[in-house]
């Protein structure tokens, strides 16, 4: 009896870890997209996830729209928010110092949080899982179907982003900006547009993450900050700027956190990701897959 329970528990933790890790992975990818084009770390990245979840709640529960439509509208809405953020706060500050950009994105994240609190209050919200709440059983562990949706969405995102960056004109142009913005400008790439797209894309990915995780872990107005921190941790662990590194590191982080929460102490589980973040920054800031020469650590 005990043997089955332990294995079942471990598998449970594994799935929880991979699920929450997928969210960290998506946040990390969002960080990377913006960082690659602008070298800005967008502290408001977590808020995109938060908005994705809460707006999804609005469209499904309040507006009672069918799920697919609600999903599309949510992603569109948050994408719009990301674009607005870029136009109004990032674009005007083209030549600002690194410190200024940090403070700007922090200010925007506070603003988003305040607006969310104004609209939705402080309570957590939930909406029904995409395909019902009957759990599946897997080696003695009860897995919610929503978990599979999370994994599916993450996989879709990975595939779409790969195609975008490797095959499409815009994607390749964005990578060029990351490598050498001056040269990119000289060959006619409109860097301003690329920056706008990077913010919009990151917001969209964040929205998907928020929409897909809310049926499992609910969503409230102040979830953004911790998500951003852990997502950043995943991004750094995987090597800032490295797309696959972010995905692997995010899932790895989620599993470690989940194992720690289940086997050691659940109160400190948030601290796990943060301690890992600090360790990576101290010991190997270029991360697992990053290029040591390319990890440009900007001064103020």
């Amino acid at each position: 009896m005990t043997k089955i329970t332990l294995t079942g528990q471990l598998i449970q933790y594994l799935f929880t870890g991979v699920t929450v890790g997928s969210i960290y992975a998506m946040v990390a990818v969002g960080f990377n997209i913006i960082y690659n084009v602008t070298e800005i770390i967008n502290f408001a990245q977590g808020e995109f996830v938060m908005l994705g979840g809460l707006i999804m709640v609005f469209f499904t529960v309040t507006a009672k729209l069918p799920l697919p439509l609600a999903f599309v509208l949510t992603v569109a809405a948050v994408t719009g928010v990301g674009a607005l953020m870029e136009r109004f706060t990032i674009n005007p500050l083209k030549n600002a110092s690194v410190l200024t950009m940090i403070i700007v994105t922090i200010a925007v994240s506070i603003l988003f949080k305040g607006i969310a609190m104004f609209v939705w209050g402080k309570n957590p919200y939930i909406f029904p899982p995409f395909s019902g709440s009957k759990p599946l059983f897997f080696f003695g562990a009860a897995i919610q179907t929503q978990t599979l949706w999370v994994l599916f969405m993450t996989a879709v995102m990975v595939v779409l982003m790969t195609i975008f960056f490797k095959k499409t004109r815009y994607g390749k142009a964005m990578l060029a900006c990351a490598d050498n913005p001056e040269a990119a400008r000289l060959v006619g790439i409109r860097v301003n547009v690329m920056i706008l797209i990077s913010f919009a894309l990151s917001a969209a990915i964040g929205a998907v993450a928020g929409a897909v995780i809310t049926p499992i872990s609910l969503m409230e107005y102040d979830r953004g900050a911790l998500l951003a921190l852990k997502g950043f941790g995943a991004a750094v662990l995987g090597g800032l700027g490295s797309f696959y590194g972010a995905v692997v590191a995010g899932i790895f982080l989620g599993i470690i956190e989940s194992m720690c929460a289940g086997l050691v102490s659940s109160g400190y589980k948030d601290a796990v990701a943060l301690i890992l973040l600090l360790l990576v920054l101290y010991v190997r800031p270029s991360g697992l897959f990053g290029n040591v020469e390319a990890s440009k650590i900007k001064e103020f």
Binding site: I102, I106, L111, V236, L274, L281, F300
Partner: protein, 318 residues
């Protein structure tokens, strides 16, 4: 000391003397004395933050942690171990300085976003610690019955007496800080901010100074934390969260980062804003804070102190 700083100090002292006289005689603003005590406590933290950010060019998004470490050390040692509050304050400084050193050495090798995130992460870890170690800190509900301060048997239990204590310490620290700024150490800090490459080439021990100013700012915050504890008499982790760290940075940035007077101005403005004029917004004050921070950073990057013409001469000399 330079004459512009001397004049400013004189002006500040005069203001501080007149303030309680006015506040205590006009009942409508009687509670301003209490607010000014908090202004003083935050000024103590922010002078350190100004040295770190404005002069040495670093950043800390986790300074609430040092504030909290000083506060909790004082609180715990006084209630659980019946230590004298002044001794406990010294102990708090010792513990906070040690933590700041251990965290500072590896963190300050980082720059820009990495340093910002490292300090942010550290701040959150300490906050989680305050919340989780229930037997030590009382957990999320905190603990109370912390004794007040007394000097030579004279108990500081009135707003006025505490006001005098806090602002006396602030003035001492301000003079100390101004002395440091206008010295080879101050120049060394500013040089490593402007060009760490050249500062290294001139023999400035850049990493040592960065850690030193980080630890100094943590010490300022620890003393402030102890003062806070004995004034409020009650502690809970929610007072030492990420949002406070951001508010502290805001006060320094809004006032004017490259000038210690700017830190004082920003602290005074934002504390009054938060405690007095934003009451109508209740919890939505964070919306206003976010908007103010955004506006200042976008349109007035040198901070509000730059608007005061007299002050901008002081600003040039810093």
């Amino acid at each position: 000391m330079q004459s512009s700083n001397r004049k400013a100090l004189l002006g500040l002292t005069l203001f501080l003397i007149l303030f309680p006289v006015v506040a205590m005689n006009v009942s409508a603003i009687g509670h301003y004395l209490d607010i000014m005590i908090f202004v003083g406590i935050y000024c103590l933290i922010n002078m350190g933050l100004s040295l770190l950010m404005g002069y040495a060019g670093q950043i800390s998004l986790g300074h609430a942690a040092f504030f909290g470490l000083g506060a909790y050390t004082s609180g715990i040692l006084c209630t659980k171990f019946a230590m004298s509050p002044w001794l406990a304050m010294v102990a708090g400084v010792g513990i906070t300085a040690l933590v700041a050193y251990i965290v500072g050495v590896p963190s300050l090798k980082l720059k820009g976003h990495y340093l910002a995130m490292a300090t942010l992460g550290f701040g959150v870890i300490v906050h989680i610690f305050f919340n989780e170690e229930v037997s030590l800190t009382g957990g999320p509900s905190g603990f109370s019955d912390i004794p007040g301060l007394s000097i030579l048997g004279f108990s500081l239990n009135s707003d006025l007496s505490y006001y005098i204590l806090v602002w006396f310490l602030v003035l001492l620290t301000l003079i100390f800080s101004l002395n440091v700024i206008h010295s080879r150490i101050g120049r060394a800090l500013r040089s490593l901010h402007d060009s760490e490459l050249a500062a290294d080439a001139m023999g400035v021990e850049t990493s040592r100074y960065k850690v030193m100013i980080f630890v100094l700012s943590a010490v300022y915050a620890s003393v402030a934390g102890s003062l806070y504890t004995h004034y409020v008499g009650f502690l809970s982790p929610s007072s030492f969260d990420f949002f406070l760290s951001i508010k502290l940075v805001m006060m320094v940035v809004v006032g004017g980062m490259h000038n210690i007077w700017g830190a004082l101005l920003g602290t005074w403005l934002l504390t009054f804003l938060g405690n007095e004029w934003l009451h109508v917004f209740h919890d939505f004050d964070i919306l206003v804070y976010g908007a103010i921070l955004l506006a200042v950073v976008m349109f007035l990057p040198d901070g509000l102190v730059h608007l005061v013409p007299r002050m901008s001469r002081v600003w040039k000399r810093g």
